[in-house]
């Protein structure tokens, strides 16, 4: 059970959070995007082993989404970032 540091609330237990997966940049204008590019945006994720960037939401707390940099092997959480915070 991860101890997830919410950028607003501080460290909280994993069950308070909702996993949002790897962030994917929405291609715009959507009407001009090829079928393949759109399908990649919807379904294709790198799913890297090791260092990984993910979106999480503190659904059972402040309700805010934030970015997590963590290691999917060691489960070390390197840092969490508020939206727009310089990476």
């Amino acid at each position: 059970m991860l101890l997830m540091p919410c950028p607003w609330c501080g460290p909280r237990d994993e069950p308070e959070f909702q996993f949002g997966g790897e962030p994917a940049t929405r291609p715009i204008p959507a009407a001009e995007v090829s079928d393949q590019r759109w399908a990649d945006y919807l379904y294709l994720r790198t799913n890297e082993k090791g260092f990984h960037r993910e979106l999480w939401c503190h659904a059972g707390g402040c309700g805010q989404w934030f970015l997590v940099e963590r290691d999917t092997v060691t489960h070390v959480i390197h840092r969490t970032l508020k939206p727009g915070e310089p990476a």
């Binding site: 059970m1 101890l3 237990d13 909702q18 009407a31 995007v33 079928d35 919807l42 489960h75």
Partner: protein, 975 residues
């Protein structure tokens, strides 16, 4: 075996009567069930799982592989009680498992004679041929340990949550020293130990600490841990990410009505693992005979419970630790012979010989014997196994070395390394926030354990910038022991040597697995069931993989070890569930008028997390009759529906209109204040997620009405899109579902009934046409009336603050009495909406349904701005002409209601193929016949065609129609 007149922690002044297989026996306060059985001379406590071999006590604590029993006490029942972990209580009724009529005389014991025909992998092979089904019934009848009673579990369980600076696991010398040092530095400490008494190995090993008897030092140390959380009888069963731990606390003496087991979820900044080590058995022919026991367990029964396990004991060892058992047994009056497998006598062995104990070097056991209990053991020189000599014995105490209890370290992701000198797997390095002290790091003396524990406590304190205010506890340094000489098995052919006692995994089974190329330790485990019994391989793991290494010509580190996973000891499902069962499993929501519904004869059912009226039963009426009556009344006169559970999300802000226009499928920018629009909400994949009416209350203020069960999901979706995609937009969301009670009056008499309502809202058709909404006061309280219809009839939806809901409900019933107002529930609503061909999300739609499949195509053609899911509606798959489309179906037999899920079948080239299915079906009171809705391939082009329906072997026919079965022009909305 006998109980000695003195010694141990038992209270001989407090007898405890209990029964074993119906026979009355006695023990004392402080006994475990196991120690009391041993004191009463009960030698056979269980039967092995596969061969039904008689099984006695091997161990004294959680490592015990054999002695699980059926236990009933105070109306509670545990079909798998671990007798070594059970505090003996007066009135306990224990009995043996896996045997008939009893473990002492088990007729299934005959199975053992056929052991050659059920080797390792027997079940795997039986799955393949001849046929598993042939044997399944008989195998299942004999399999399983324990029988559940068909009654509720009456025990109470609780869950507790805690956060602490340091969790110390194990209250032996190392753990106590660590807790003492951390506590003295002012840290918050939780100390957990699975024994009822504090001290760990100090409970049964002699020692002097800080010039006091070890027991006094333990008592003083515990007394000094003022303010710490002390958890005796508590097993830390699981280590999870980031120092999260699961603890099982047993509370056998809890007052009536209180939880007898508690699961603690602990988050610790630091953990000190002082979990000790587990003694390994020796593997030799006949080593499973009752009376062959762990040498450490024999010492524990003697020192802790005053039980002398045997009078004539042969002690077999390959290391120094067992010699303390020998000296203690002699002091208690037993006769001892020691067989030491090591080639030469070390210092401790020579000292024993000097005390007159018969000690034989280079000697190993080669067989045991005796009917109804152990009578003798054959020993032989290790290099000449044929030169056997028989020694009488009623107990063979064995020590094959020690396996550090690395389970929690490993569960937390810690790596293990094989230490050849210790002949054991040791933790390679502590995990972050983890500290290791005592025997978990390998063989340690008392002085070393105390020092390591104190060191761990001070290291933890230093990370908080604190120093410990106590000096380290001191014990006499001990001389280095003579090294262990591994003895993994005795190379005697033909005779069975047990590795896993409960699951009957023998040396031959491991050899067979190796021969059949199950050379990976994980495969070995699954092929032979090694380590899969209730002790989870605590005694068998290392012996098993050492044997596999030998049979595959490898070294132990090459073979490796299986992964340790939680739980360390079995944890009942009840304890894990805690209070989360029954009513508290998923608390159900109640409507503001709940009591009124009950008073009106409502049949309440759960819909989307709410308890809502399915229908209102009149005297002598069945549920289907009530549904038909209610649906008919709503069309003929007026119906009253409680719609309070329908979602209500307020959206406000300067950009509210623009934001919602990006989210919803339908155009919302053009919606005028005071007006409503029925809208679909899509996922980015284009799939319809929800539908509902969107109201524009003001230019910058909207009210959404998601489905009852989707309200939380829609709110989460709005927030996610706002925060991650459009954070610059000025918009805020608020779920006000529970704040408002909402009632719908529907039917031709609705307008007349509303005309009698005291309200400031103008409900004339000019002021409040269909799909309009207005604020005002209703019966003196602030409220809102919307013209929106889920039935196809003229309808008014009234909302007032939830606290006024029940009063308005009763008032509307009074107002409508003379116009035949009828209460209707969710089931009648479902009939009414089916007559109109209105979809129900999740019933008529699924995870593939696009808006175009529902025939809602205008927004895709006309809406100028991009919206969520739009691009997905333009893909080749979304524009395929043969997509399933939403249609109506009229069964050929108007009395026949086809089942939901019935397939529509097409026959082409002699082959039958499903072209879709029925999603909704019912009898329509308005049409006086059966109707259905469904998803059919290219359904709109097939309108007018007849299709064959198929369900569970039955066929019928139906004609495809447009979805709307009644009043397609919508004239009734305005009647």
């Amino acid at each position: 075996m006998k109980r000695l007149p003195t010694g141990g922690r038992i209270d001989r002044a407090a007898p405890r009567a209990f029964t074993w297989d119906g026979k009355a026996l006695g023990g004392f306060k402080g006994d475990t069930l196991a120690s009391a059985l041993l004191a009463n001379g009960i030698r056979i406590i269980g039967r092995s799982f596969k061969y039904h071999r008689p099984r006695g006590l091997y161990g004294a604590w959680s490592e015990e592989p054999n002695a699980i029993v059926d236990l009933a006490w105070k109306g509670e029942h545990d079909p798998n009680a671990r007798s070594t972990l059970v505090d003996l209580q007066a009135g306990m009724a224990a009995s043996g498992l896996n045997a008939w009529p009893s473990v002492a005389h088990d007729v299934y014991g005959l199975i053992d004679r056929f052991h050659r025909f059920i080797p390792a992998g027997f079940y795997y092979k039986t799955f393949k041929s001849p046929r598993w089904e042939t044997f399944e019934g008989r195998i299942r009848q004999m399999a399983g340990l324990g029988t559940l009673r068909r009654s509720d579990d009456r025990r109470r369980y609780e869950t507790r949550h805690a956060e602490t600076d340091v969790l110390v696991v194990g209250a032996g010398p190392a753990g106590l020293a660590a807790a003492r040092a951390a506590h003295a530095a002012g840290l918050r400490v939780i100390l957990a130990d699975d024994r009822a008494a504090w001290g760990g190995s100090l409970l049964w090993r002699e020692g002097v600490i800080d010039d006091r008897a070890a027991a006094d030092w333990v008592a003083d140390t515990i007394a000094g841990l003022d303010g710490a959380t002390l958890l005796p009888r508590t097993t830390v069963f699981g280590a999870y990410d980031h120092n999260a731990f699961g603890l099982l606390e047993r509370r056998p003496s809890a007052a009536d009505g209180w939880a007898t087991e508690r699961v603690w979820q602990v988050r610790a900044r630091h953990v000190v693992l002082a979990t000790g080590a587990i003694e390994r058995p020796l593997v030799f022919p006949g080593n499973d005979r009752p009376g062959v026991m762990s040498a450490a367990a024999v010492l524990q029964y003697l020192r802790e419970y005053g039980v002398l396990a045997g009078n004539r004991v042969v002690l077999v060892t390959n290391n120094d630790s067992a010699y303390e058992t020998a000296h203690a047994l002699i002091a208690a009056g037993a006769r001892i012979t020691i067989a030491d497998a090591r080639p030469e006598l070390g210092a401790i062995a020579r000292r024993a010989a000097d005390h007159g104990i018969q000690v034989r070097a280079n000697t190993v056991p080669v067989n045991t014997g005796g009917r109804h209990g152990l009578r003798w053991v054959d020993v032989a020189p290790r290099d000449n196994l044929a030169a056997r000599e028989r020694i009488p014995a009623d107990v063979v105490a064995i020590s094959g070395g020690w396996s550090p209890a690395v389970h929690l370290h490993s569960q937390a992701g810690g790596k293990l390394r094989w230490d050849a000198a210790e002949a054991a797997f040791l933790p390679e390095a502590a995990r972050p926030g983890q500290h290791l002290a005592g025997a978990i790091t390998g063989g340690t003396s008392l002085a070393e354990a105390l020092e390591a524990g104190h060191h761990a406590g001070t290291v933890v304190a230093s990370t908080f910038g604190r120093a410990s205010a106590v000096l380290p506890p001191r014990a006499e340094p001990a001389a280095a022991p003579s090294p262990i000489a591994p003895l993994w098995f005795v190379p005697v052919p033909d005779q069975r040597q047990w590795i896993d006692f409960q699951n009957d995994v023998t040396l031959k089974d491991v050899a067979l697995a190796a021969r059949e190329n199950y050379a990976s330790v994980e495969h070995l485990k699954r092929y032979t069931t090694l380590g899969m019994a209730n002790d989870q391989g605590k005694t068998s793991n290392v012996n098993g993989l050492a044997a596999l290494a030998a049979f595959t010509g490898r070294e132990i580190p090459e073979v490796g070890t299986t992964t340790f996973r939680p739980p360390f000891v079995p944890v009942s499902l009840g304890a894990l569930a805690g209070m989360r069962h029954g009513r508290l499993y998923a608390p159900i929501r109640h409507l503001p008028s709940h009591a009124d519904h009950l008073g009106n004869g409502a049949e309440m059912r759960e819909y989307g997390g709410w308890l809502r009226p399915a229908c209102y039963l009149r005297v002598g009426e069945t549920v289907p009759q009530a549904i038909q009556r209610e649906a008919a009344s709503a069309r003929q006169a007026a119906g009253l529906l409680d719609g309070s559970s329908l979602g209500k999300i307020e959206v406000q802000g300067a950009d509210a209109a623009a934001f919602l226009n990006l989210l919803y499928y339908n155009e919302l920018a053009t919606l005028k204040p005071g007006r409503l629009r029925y809208c679909l909400l899509l996922r980015e994949t284009g799939v319809v997620y929800d539908d509902g009416v969107v109201a524009r209350l003001a230019p910058d203020r909207f009210l959404l009405s998601p489905s009852s069960s989707h309200t939380a999901g829609v709110l989460a979706m709005l927030r996610a899109w706002h925060q991650t995609e459009y954070p610059a937009m000025q918009v805020a969301f608020h779920d006000i579902t529970a704040a408002w009670a909402t009632y719908a009056i529907s039917g031709p008499n609705a307008r007349a009934i509303l005309g009698r309502l005291a309200t400031s809202i103008d409900i004339s058709d000019a002021a409040l046409p269909h799909m309009a909404i207005a604020d005002g006061s209703i019966g003196g309280v602030p409220g809102r009336i919307a013209r929106v219809s889920f039935t196809g009839e003229r309808s008014y939806e009234l909302s007032v603050p939830a606290s006024h809901g029940a009063a308005l409900w009763r008032h509307l019933l009074d107002l409508g009495a003379r116009d035949g107002i009828t209460l209707f529930g969710i089931e009648a609503l479902s009939v009414l909406r089916a007559e109109k061909g209105f979809i129900l999300i999740g019933t008529d739609t699924d995870g593939m349904t696009l808006p175009v499949d529902l025939g809602v195509t205008a927004p895709l053609r006309n809406k100028k701005v991009d919206f969520v899911g739009k691009r997905s509606l333009l893909t080749p798959d979304a524009t395929r002409p043969d997509r399933r489309q939403f249609v109506g179906l009229l069964p050929a037999d108007p009395r026949f209601v086809p089942a939901v899920g019935s397939h529509a079948i097409e026959t082409a080239d002699g082959k039958r193929r499903s072209i879709g299915w029925i999603t909704t079906s019912c009898r329509s009171p308005a049409l006086g016949r059966s109707i259905a809705l469904g998803m059919i391939e290219a359904g709109r082009a097939r309108i007018g065609e007849t299709v064959e329906l198929f369900h569970l072997g039955q066929t019928s026919r139906a004609t495809i129609t447009a979805p709307c079965h009644l009043d397609p022009a919508g004239e009734r909305l305005h009647d």
